[in-house]
């Protein structure tokens, strides 16, 4: 493949340069096409559920390299740290948002978190963010929403190369190339990223962001067999090596370790698409993805530590779209998934734990009259390893007039218990010898340990262990969109998610030594609710302003019940206990009550642009410090903060472009609570592209 690519590039015929004018006007809610919300192409103006679109220009002008960089600047989203950078959507943890690339899911989560730094943004056309449960179309994990990354498919850039250098010896090199004829389309993307990382604690040999070198390769081929059929192949490979030297303190003794991580993420998709008529089309898709993570840790004392994870996911799917009439559109689909995981944290890393899923879904969109669209869908997932799930969804859009629009969506989402919750068999020798056992074997393992006389105590929770059910949620989103003029846009969105059967780690017993034993139980009930506001204003031909705000409250329903029953205590200023009032309760940890952003964009009209972005997060609870099990005002909070970002750049008609920027201008740092936030960083990018005639 690579050879082929080089030869083609060297042929001058493919280097037809074309001058492409870059359109700098910001469209308010420009009627772009959305594919994620309905699993089929729909105009944004006809989408009945809340969607945010981030386009390539926004990504490029913000100077974003990795998916995390751009998502943290989107309304309603928040990045979490720990096990990589995950995304929290409307207060729900990273586990509950499915991440798709061109509609196919990414796998390889650690503790439920998919590290979004894995995804390079160099060849991204747009990112679609659908808020609210979407399991009716996407199945497990689409409980809070869906983030779909859509790669470039336009073939008007035969070659594009970029080089970026930034603080901490961060280098990013990207090459994009595309070739197309009438029936053939090829696109390739190569990216190399390296950083020396940084350490924000003085005199520490631990690096908060670890030295990384990461390669990304993306190849897409499409061949039009005839006017009605095409076949498409996509390959994506990410390979990263991380040097992770860490220090672990245990009982005052510090152990320094030299760590090496090697993660690979590769996927291939093949699809056959056929259009029978303008009304009927179908596509067969196969998808194979594998995630491999290997971690080697050698302590100074010589004791080795080794961790391995291998996750394979295969899928076969058919989807048929049928425009029954002008008013009725129908989507039907069915598929099967085979999934397997091997891990050194399970009882044997040789045994692959597997699950198979069969599913079917259908969705009908009905437009009874022009200003009114109703959409209903349902999906059924039959799981081998755990209970089946039905996921219905209903949504509607009503256009009052040219300026006002109302949307309502009600849906159910679920998240299947993951392999670790079922098969984990992990004892942490480094930190006190605690163990975590998955539900499939917890009872058996503990019984065996009991026979060996190693179990000190068993709690009531041990006897409650049983096959896990999927976690499920019901989400309601109500939004109002208002476009007073062509240059202004305002939206208000109310949301509420109710979650049942939350799977939580629970102590089920203790060893004779006192070390804790944990397993998983479906015990939690929680909610998140809030308001999201967005406003965009085109000030004049040069300036655009956009603002967003989110108010969020969350809570654990069982904790609220015990607080109401007068069974939860806290401490006053003297350290004396008092009853906790509901007004002291702050809900789930790591959630910000207020989150806001303000962005000012400038465009000179001749290719020169500049922007200034301000992000704000209010306080969030991080630690339970006052002797109860709930998070309240007396606990430890991380301070809210504002971060400022700017970038300036220009693109010229001869194909050259440059950009320079500064992130975290005020150098805000909080090593303890924001390990992923480095101090002030600078970067400069140079880009060259050859345009097609």
């Amino acid at each position: 493949m690579k050879k082929y690519f080089v030869i083609l590039l060297a042929t001058p015929a493919f280097l037809n340069a074309q001058r492409r004018l870059i359109n700098d006007t910001l469209q308010m809610q420009g009627d772009s096409v959305v594919v994620t919300a309905n699993r089929t192409e729909r105009k944004l103006s006809n989408i009945t559920v809340p969607v945010n679109i981030v386009n390539a220009k926004q990504i490029q002008q913000a100077g974003s390299l990795r998916l995390t960089d751009i998502l943290k600047e989107q309304p309603g989203l928040n990045m979490t740290s720990g096990f990589g950078a995950g995304v929290q959507l409307q207060g729900l943890n990273p586990d509950y948002t499915i991440i798709l690339i061109n509609g196919e899911p990414l796998v390889g989560r650690t503790a439920g978190v998919l590290d979004l730094n894995r995804i390079a943004l160099g060849n991204i056309k747009k990112i679609e963010i659908v808020k609210g449960p979407s399991s009716s179309l996407y199945g497990s994990e689409a409980m809070a929403g869906v983030i779909n990354i859509i790669t470039e498919s336009a073939a008007n850039i035969p070659l594009q190369a970029s080089f970026r250098y930034g603080t901490n010896e961060t280098i990013d090199v990207g090459i994009n190339n595309a070739i197309s004829t009438k029936s053939f389309f090829y696109q390739g993307f190569y990216n190399y990223f390296t950083t020396n990382g940084y350490s924000i604690r003085p005199n520490s040999n631990s690096r908060v962001t670890t030295p990384i070198s990461r390669y990304t390769l993306n190849q897409q081929l499409k061949y039009n067999i005839n006017d009605h059929s095409n076949i498409a192949v996509g390959i994506r490979v990410t390979d990263e090596k991380i040097t992770n030297d860490i220090s672990v303190s245990n009982g005052g003794a510090t152990i320094n370790s030299l760590g090496k991580e090697h993660n690979t993420d590769q996927n291939i998709s093949l699809s056959l698409n056929h259009r029978f008529s303008n009304q009927l089309k179908t596509s067969f898709r196969t998808y194979f993805t594998e995630y491999n993570a290997k971690q080697d840790l050698i302590t100074i004392t010589g004791a080795p530590y080794y961790d391995l994870l291998n996750h394979v996911f295969k899928r076969l799917e058919n989807q048929t779209d049928w425009n029954v009439s002008k008013e009725v559109n129908l989507i039907m689909g069915a598929g099967a998934v085979w999934e397997g995981v091997k891990s050194s944290r399970y009882d044997s890393e040789q045994i692959r734990r597997t699950n198979t899923i069969q599913y079917a879904f259908t969705q009908m969109e009905w437009t009874p009259w022009k200003k009114f669209i109703i959409n209903g869908g349902i999906r059924f997932d039959k799981n081998e390893a755990f209970a089946s799930a039905f996921s219905p969804k209903f949504s509607a859009l009503y256009q009052l007039n040219e300026k006002h629009k109302l949307k309502l969506s009600i849906g159910q989402g679920f998240k299947a218990p993951d392999f670790r919750q079922i098969y984990l068999d992990f004892t942490n020798a480094a930190a006190g010898g605690y163990s975590v056992f998955g539900t499939a074997q917890a009872q058996q393992v503990i019984e065996n340990l009991m026979r060996l006389g190693q179990i000190g105590t068993l709690y009531d929770s041990y006897y409650q262990l049983k096959t896990l059910k999927p976690e499920s949620s019901t989400g309601v989103h109500l939004s109002w969109e208002y476009e007073p003029t062509q240059n202004s846009f305002v939206s208000v969105q109310l949301f509420r998610n109710d979650i049942q059967n939350l799977i939580q780690v629970q102590q089920v017993g203790a060893y004779i030594t006192g070390a804790q034993i944990f397993s998983y139980l479906n015990i939690g009930r929680a909610f998140t609710q809030g308001v999201e506001l967005e406003a965009k204003q085109k000030i004049n031909n040069h300036f655009n302003l956009s603002a967003a705000y989110q108010y969020l409250t969350t809570g654990d329903k069982d904790q609220i019940a015990t607080i109401k029953a007068g069974k939860v205590y806290t401490r006053d200023a003297n350290g004396y206990s008092r009853l906790l009032l509901l007004s002291d309760y702050v809900g789930l940890p790591n959630n910000n009550t207020h989150k806001a952003q303000l962005k000012l964009n400038y465009s000179a009209g001749n290719g020169l642009y500049a922007n200034f972005r301000m992000l704000y997060r209010s306080n969030w609870a991080v630690n339970n410090t006052n002797g109860n099990e709930v998070f309240d005002k007396g606990d430890e909070f991380a301070h809210g903060y504002i971060s400022l970002h700017t970038s300036v750049g220009a693109s010229y008609k001869n194909g050259f472009a440059w950009q320079t920027g500064c992130d975290n201008i005020t150098n805000y740092m909080d090593p303890l609570h924001l390990p992923n936030l480095p101090g002030r960083t600078f970067f400069t990018t140079i880009k060259y592209q050859i345009f097609k005639k």
Partner: protein
């Protein structure tokens, strides 16, 4: 209407006279004053080994609740002490721990609300090493342990109800395990967490008359 009013008047008069009556006949029970104790060391860290592991003397600190004072370790075999502390372990002078009549249990509720020890309360005694009157372990007795940040926090709303070596009753609330009277922030240095831990602060009420009322 009139009848109801009359009944109401009678009720008022009756209840007033009952109140007056009870005031004059029963003995007035004054609440026992609570005493505050700060920073009692409990086998504190005295140094670090070459590998950086903490070094302690491995000895209990004995305390007399009757005298509100530390009892020297030489009197450990006597009935002069009621309660003793060593790190998170608490022992009571009775059972396997001492010659006294001591026993205890952990009551869930507020210190001020516990005016009478319920009649059906069971005082447990130490039965080392399998069980103790005051259960050790995170979340099980009087404290929780935050393994991530290496901090011990006394559980809120827990009262240690103690029978002393001489059979008197005490209620006690532990307020802190760190020197200075408050749990350290998670951001405190490891060194600070090591050296400032194992200091008990508590308040207690001692009923000298042998009753279970405070």
């Amino acid at each position: 209407m009139n009848k109801q009013l009359k009944q109401f008047a009678i009720y008022i008069i009756l209840s007033a006279s009952i109140a007056a009556c009870s005031k004059s006949t029963s003995t007035v029970v004054l609440p026992i004053a609570a005493l505050s104790v700060k920073d009692i060391p409990a086998d504190t860290v005295v140094g670090l080994s070459a590998q950086g592991a903490p070094i302690t003397n491995g000895k209990y600190t004995f305390y007399s609740l009757e005298k509100n004072a530390i009892v020297p370790n030489t009197d450990s075999a006597s009935t002069k002490w009621d309660i003793a502390f060593m790190a998170t372990r608490i022992i009571i002078n009775g059972g396997t721990s001492g010659a006294g009549q001591g026993g205890a249990f952990v009551y869930t509720g507020l210190f001020d609300d516990l005016k009478i020890i319920p009649a059906d309360s069971v005082f447990k005694t130490d039965n080392a090493p399998t069980s103790y009157a005051i259960t050790a372990g995170s979340g099980k007795g009087w404290y929780t342990y935050d393994g991530l940040n290496n901090l011990i926090t006394p559980l809120a709303g827990r009262v240690l109800v103690i029978r002393t070596a001489s059979g008197k009753y005490v209620k006690m609330e532990i307020t802190s395990y760190y020197k200075g009277g408050a749990t350290l922030p998670a951001s405190a240095s490891d060194m600070e967490k090591l050296t400032k831990q194992r200091y008990y602060s508590f308040r207690f009420a001692y009923q000298p008359n042998g009753t279970k009322m405070f």
